[in-house]
Structure formats: structure tokens, C-alpha cells
């Protein structure tokens, strides 16, 4: 694994992604989701909303890095809030 040049933050990041994927799979098995329409302009499943949330979170982080001098942790907190809103009402 050393050739992959791991660091603690990236390891935590990928562990987080893996936990989310396993969790979503378990959630799907326990209670299969139905496509629905929330505040987003398209009907989405739970997995769609997760994908939209992760992709938009990546762009929010990039925007913070490119346009502001604010600590990246602020972007992460905002993204977590955004993900919760999106998963619940998206």
C-alpha cells in the first residue's frame, strides 16, 4: 500500500466514502427506495441524490479553494449540511 502514498486525510476521506456506500446499500436492502420529486427539478432516487450531493460537494470545495481564503473545514461543514438537506428534501 505504500506505493499509493497514503496520507491520513485521504485515508479518512476514502473510508468515509466506503462507509457511506456500505450504509446506503444496507439502507436499500432494509427499505428499498422509491423515485420521488423534491426541490430538485427532477425525480431522483436516494442514490441519485447521494451522487448529486457528492459531486456538488466536490465543486463547493473547489470554489472555496479557488475564490476564498476561508479554511477548507468551513466548506466541509457546509457540504455536510447541504448533503443532509439534499437527501431529506431533494
Amino acid at each position: 500500500m505504500a506505493w499509493m502514498s497514503w496520507t491520513l486525510p485521504t485515508a479518512l476521506f476514502f473510508t468515509g466514502i466506503a462507509v457511506i456506500l456500505v450504509g446506503m446499500t444496507a439502507w436499500q436492502i432494509i427499505s428499498p427506495c422509491v423515485e420521488r420529486r423534491g426541490f430538485l427539478p427532477l425525480a431522483t432516487t436516494r442514490g441519485d441524490r447521494l451522487f448529486i450531493g457528492l459531486l456538488s460537494s466536490a465543486f463547493i470545495h473547489l470554489a472555496f479553494v479557488a475564490l476564498t481564503d476561508v479554511n477548507i473545514a468551513v466548506a466541509t461543514v457546509l457540504c455536510v449540511l447541504w448533503m443532509i438537506i439534499l437527501m431529506r428534501w431533494g
Binding site: S5, P9, T10, F13, L42, A58, F59, V65, A66
Partner: protein
């Protein structure tokens, strides 16, 4: 009451594909993420730098210019290749030896390796020995793809259209062949015009293959490297330096692994976003119908 039991055995059959994808795509991508947050001097000397490379890359004017060029290129070739591919597919014979011959002729550009395509067009476009270059010069157009940026762009776009329109044409051809004859019979009874047949029968039936064709062409053109590299080397100046060539210059030319990894991730996210928007829009248009 009968309870439907879900059989999940099929997932085990997908497992080999998952393992291959993990080794060929997921693990390399994870490694790139690791590189993007470190300053790497050699395999044993590296320092964590956080988001520094991302800050550098996001403010890099070379990246912005290459990105704009890349979008202009991808949309230009899509605007040309999709309608042209549909026209070629509509004109191709459907029966007999002519059909087989047309299929082979149309497929030839797809069989040529990318670096050979670049070389073919490099020679084809030369004013002294190339057919296209000599023709342009003889009709009085001062054409030189190695010194004039507009000529370089024209040649790169022409080359891509020549190379990849057959893909759209073949996809559309197979889509057209799958339309049952009864649709055309109904159109004849209604005395539908040629345009009406195309607009209301052929085009809706082609929607699925066109989505795949456009996605493939967009992603492929967005990652184009070999052909312009061989043809123009990214020049004149940086006129035809697209994203992947900028990336290669940074990663291999200058051996800036960290910034190049950050650049790759931004590149990857843009492709992911555009493809998702594209796919979702077209799929929703079909659902609304």
C-alpha cells in the same frame, strides 16, 4: 400470500468486472487523490501540502485557456459530427452488396490507430507534398497549419470529423435498421413527407443511440491527446494545446506530480459533471415524451 424472494446471486457474477475495474480505475484514481495533496520528490520523500496544489491549479491561466479551448473543440466537433453522422447513416444502402461495402468503407477511419491518423493528416495538410495542403494553396488560400492558428484548428477539427463521424454513422445505421417496417408503412398510408418520417419516426427511434454516441464523442474529444499532439504538437504557440496535453506537459515534462494530480481531479470532475448533466437531460426528455 406469495412473498417475492429477491435473488442476489447475479451480484457474484458481476464480481470479476468489479475487481478488474477496481484495479484499472478505482485504485489508480485513489492514488491520484493521494498525490494531489502531497509534494512528492521521490518515492520515499513526500510532504503533505493540503489544498495548495488545488489553489495553484484553480488560479492557473494555462488551465483556464486549455479548458476554454477544450470546450470549444468538443462542442464544435459534436455540432458537426452528430448531424453529419445521421445524414451518412440515412444515405447508406440498406440491402445487398452495397450495404456491406458501405459499412466497410465507413468503418475504415475507425480502424486506424490514433497516432497514424495524426501522421496521415500531418502529411495530407502539408502545402508541398500533401493533397489537401497543395489543393488549398492552388486555389489561392494561404493555408499552413503549423504557423496559422486558424488553419491548425481547421485541420484538427477536420481530422476529428473524418476519424469519428463514422462512429455516429454506424450507431445511427444500426438504430435505423431496428425500426420495424410497419412504421414506414403507416407513414406511407398517411402520405407523410420525407422530413415527417425523419422527424416523427426515425429521430425518436434514434434517441437512445444518439445519447450513447454523443456521450462517447464528448468524453473522447474532451480527453483528446494523440492526434493533435502528432499533428500540431499543441501549436502554433498553444493554439491547439488541449487539457490532456497541458496535463502531460505538467506531469511528465516537468514531473510536477502533485499539481498534475490536482489538475487531473479537476479535469475528472468536469467530465463527470458534464456527462451527468447531458445524460440526465436527455433521459428526462425521453421520460417526458
Amino acid at each position: 400470500m406469495q412473498i417475492k424472494v429477491e435473488n442476489n446471486k447475479a451480484w457474484f457474477l458481476v464480481l470479476p468486472v468489479f475487481i478488474i475495474v477496481a484495479f484499472s480505475a478505482i485504485i489508480p484514481l485513489m492514488t491520484v487523490v493521494n498525490y494531489s495533496v502531497q509534494d512528492i520528490f521521490d518515492p520515499y520523500t513526500r510532504y503533505f501540502v493540503g489544498t495548495e496544489w488545488f489553489e495553484q491549479v484553480m488560479q492557473d491561466s494555462r488551465l483556464h485557456e486549455a479548458l476554454i479551448r477544450q470546450f470549444i473543440f468538443s462542442f464544435t466537433i459534436l455540432i458537426i459530427e452528430v448531424p453529419l453522422g445521421i445524414c451518412v447513416a440515412l444515405m447508406m444502402p440498406t440491402k445487398g452488396r452495397g450495404a456491406s461495402l458501405a459499412l466497410i468503407l465507413v468503418a475504415i477511419p475507425l480502424l486506424i490507430p490514433w497516432n497514424v491518423v495524426g501522421t496521415i493528416w500531418q502529411i495530407f495538410g502539408r502545402a508541398d507534398i500533401g493533397l489537401f495542403g497543395a489543393f488549398m494553396t492552388n486555389i489561392g488560400i494561404d493555408y499552413n497549419y503549423s504557423s496559422n492558428p486558424i488553419d491548425a484548428w481547421l485541420t484538427v477539427v477536420l481530422m476529428d470529423v473524418w476519424h469519428w463521424t463514422p462512429l455516429i454513422a454506424l450507431l445511427c445505421y444500426s438504430g435505423l435498421r431496428s425500426i420495424p417496417e410497419v412504421y414506414y408503412q403507416a407513414a406511407r398510408i398517411d402520405q407523410a413527407s420525407r422530413w415527417a418520417v425523419f422527424r416523427y419516426i426515425q429521430l425518436p427511434k434514434l434517441a437512445n443511440v444518439l445519447v450513447i454516441g454523443m456521450l462517447l464523442r464528448f468524453m473522447d474529444s474532451f480527453m483528446i491527446y494523440t492526434e493533435p499532439f502528432v499533428l500540431t504538437g499543441g501549436g502554433p504557440g498553444t493554439a491547439t494545446t488541449f487539457l490532456s496535453q497541458s496535463l502531460v506537459q505538467q506531469a511528465i515534462g516537468q514531473f510536477d506530480i502533485g499539481p498534475a494530480a490536482a489538475f487531473s481531479l479537476v479535469y475528472f470532475l468536469i467530465i463527470l459533471l458534464v456527462c451527468w448533466v447531458f445524460y440526465t437531460t436527455i433521459m428526462n426528455m425521453q421520460k417526458d415524451k
